[in-house]
């Protein structure tokens, strides 16, 4: 085992602030509206729910290998990273700041269940504003990178925001989806989706499946340093939104339904992708999965 591997720091087990501190150049991070500003949710007190001094998201600026970047990190330990009014506005403000300061990229360390239900309507509008702000940043040619590696995954509105960004990086332990398995199970029964079947949940929404499908661009181990390397490799590659690009995306998404629409399980899809011994995928690490990728069809990023 290499020295680097021995020193791996789990992204999933780190807090949002630890992730930011370790991802950026040492000591380079400056937080904006940090905990001392006490910018808290105005909606939680009436529910008897404790608020947080940063409303569950860290935003600020720093250096990535000497290049200025803006960065946000959602804290999954606070309300599952749910987007409320203040939380969403901090993300929106960060993207607006990018239009002014033109950093090398805006990095979002996403860990979120999506809209914070405790702030229902305000959260829904906030997620929509985050999406619009990200798209405005992207339209200005500033790369937007989503780094997904938290234990709570990236769901709901943030799952939509992730797929609007220029690039997506995931760890093999991460999940990216729309509806959480619990929501699907409670709506349509345990036969539809058994939320307690962890292997099934990971096969359906996990980093390996998303990578093999082309829904994430880079798959890394659960290691903050690996996320840093991936982010660094993706700087300076903005992807303009074009009609041609979206037509390619459309054709790929239509073909995906035609090719895999009748697959009952991720393993069936992997087999159809031409991966021999598809059932073994669950046992492979990120490096081994990446080696399989040339055999799988790479999805086009719009």
């Amino acid at each position: 085992m290499s020295v680097a591997a021995k020193l791996a720091v789990s992204f999933a087990e780190s807090t949002a602030r630890e992730r930011v501190a370790r991802l950026l150049d040492a000591g380079s991070f400056t937080e904006i509206l940090g905990p001392s500003a006490r910018m808290m949710s105005p909606h939680l007190a009436q529910l008897g729910v404790p608020a947080s001094f940063d409303d569950g998201v860290v935003v600020g600026e720093g250096l990535l290998h000497g290049q200025p970047v803006l960065i946000a990190a959602q804290e999954g330990e606070f309300m599952g990273g749910g987007v409320g009014e203040v939380h969403g506005a901090k993300l929106v403000g960060l993207f607006q700041r990018a239009l002014r300061t033109r950093p090398a990229a805006v990095l979002v360390l996403a860990e979120s269940g999506g809209v914070r239900l405790h702030e229902a309507n305000a959260g829904l509008i906030a997620v929509s504003e985050v999406m619009r702000a990200l798209l405005a940043t992207r339209a200005a040619g500033i790369p937007t990178l989503m780094l997904i590696g938290g234990a709570n995954g990236c769901f709901g509105g943030m799952g939509l925001v992730a797929r609007c960004a220029d690039q997506v990086v995931m760890s093999d332990a991460a999940r990216l989806a729309m509806s959480g398995p619990e929501v699907i199970e409670s709506s349509n029964g345990v036969e539809e989706f058994d939320a307690k079947d962890r292997a099934l949940v990971w096969r359906t929404t996990g980093g390996k499946h998303r990578y093999l499908m082309g829904d994430c661009d880079v798959l890394v181990e659960d290691d903050v340093a690996a996320f840093r390397e991936a982010a660094l490799s993706l700087l300076g590659q903005p992807r303009a939104l074009t009609l041609e690009g979206l037509e390619r995306e459309h054709a790929m998404l239509a073909a995906r339904i035609a090719d895999f629409g009748d697959c009952g399980d991720a393993v069936d899809i992997w087999r159809k992708l031409g991966i021999q011994d598809a059932a073994r995928i669950v046992d492979l690490d990120a490096t081994q999965i990446r080696a399989l990728k040339p055999r799988a069809e790479k999805g086009a990023q719009p």
Partner: protein, 235 residues
């Protein structure tokens, strides 16, 4: 309001919209100007196919009718809650629909959303909420989740949530609350054609910045969003 009545009130007999399953797609004339209409009906659950079909209608408009205004007709119960959709990556399908609308906006199409019946969570984020401006009929309903499900997820007593929904715009599903919070620009009452005409005139190309947080602050429904964003942007 059912969609056929809505179209009659908006465009009299100057509309040609087909309904296939839950998908609405077609065009209409207002003051001699053609608009693309795309949306859903029957409280549609937005699955991968329906997201893709709506994206197709938007892309076709961008390709074949540069600059033509687009009206999104919203009636959805949200994303389809099936494992198959998640396996196929429904978030990418819905994001694709949102990106197609964004492309249309960038290329000078005015895009308006109209909630004419019901709008819920995910199905709304990449349709009406990504338009230049979203409007609603007074009898429409917008919400994130029904109260029993919300009570289950938040572990807060349903009766307490129901009581809060009576008084607090953040929880109550009424469209007026979305207007107060800036998520909906205005409600369309009376002569709907007059309302649409005014909305089109109010919408500039290329699109201006997102004004919803500012509207929420001015109207008093969302006090902090605009200020917090401003402080982060300008710090």
């Amino acid at each position: 309001m059912i969609w056929t009545e809505l179209l009659d009130r908006l465009f009299a007999d100057q509309h040609a919209v087909t309904c296939e399953g839950d998908l609405l797609r077609g065009s209409a004339q207002l003051d001699g100007q053609t608009l693309t209409l795309v949306g859903t009906t029957g409280h549609a659950a937005i699955g991968v196919e329906l997201a893709l079909a709506q994206a197709r209608a938007v892309l076709d408009t961008v390709r074949e009718h540069p600059g033509r205004a687009i009206l999104l007709l919203v009636d959805t119960q949200g994303q389809r809650l099936r494992r198959r959709d998640e396996l196929l990556g429904i978030n990418r399908y819905m994001a694709h629909m949102g990106l197609c609308i964004e492309l249309a906006r960038q290329r000078g199409h005015r895009v308006l959303g109209l909630v004419y019946d019901q709008a819920l969570s995910g199905g709304f984020i990449t349709s009406g909420l990504i338009a230049d401006a979203c409007y609603a009929l007074p009898e429409a309903e917008i919400r994130v989740m029904r109260l029993p499900a919300m009570a289950r997820v938040t572990k807060i007593d349903e009766a307490r949530l129901a009581a809060l929904a009576e008084s607090n715009p953040v929880f109550a599903p009424g469209v007026e609350n979305y207007v107060a919070m800036g998520g909906v620009r205005a409600l369309w009452r009376g002569d709907l054609a007059v309302q649409l005409r005014a909305a089109l005139a109010h919408t500039t190309t290329p699109p201006t910045t997102d004004e919803r947080a500012r509207d929420g602050a001015i109207r008093g429904g969302r006090q902090l969003a605009a200020d917090v964003a401003q402080r982060v942007a300008q710090a």
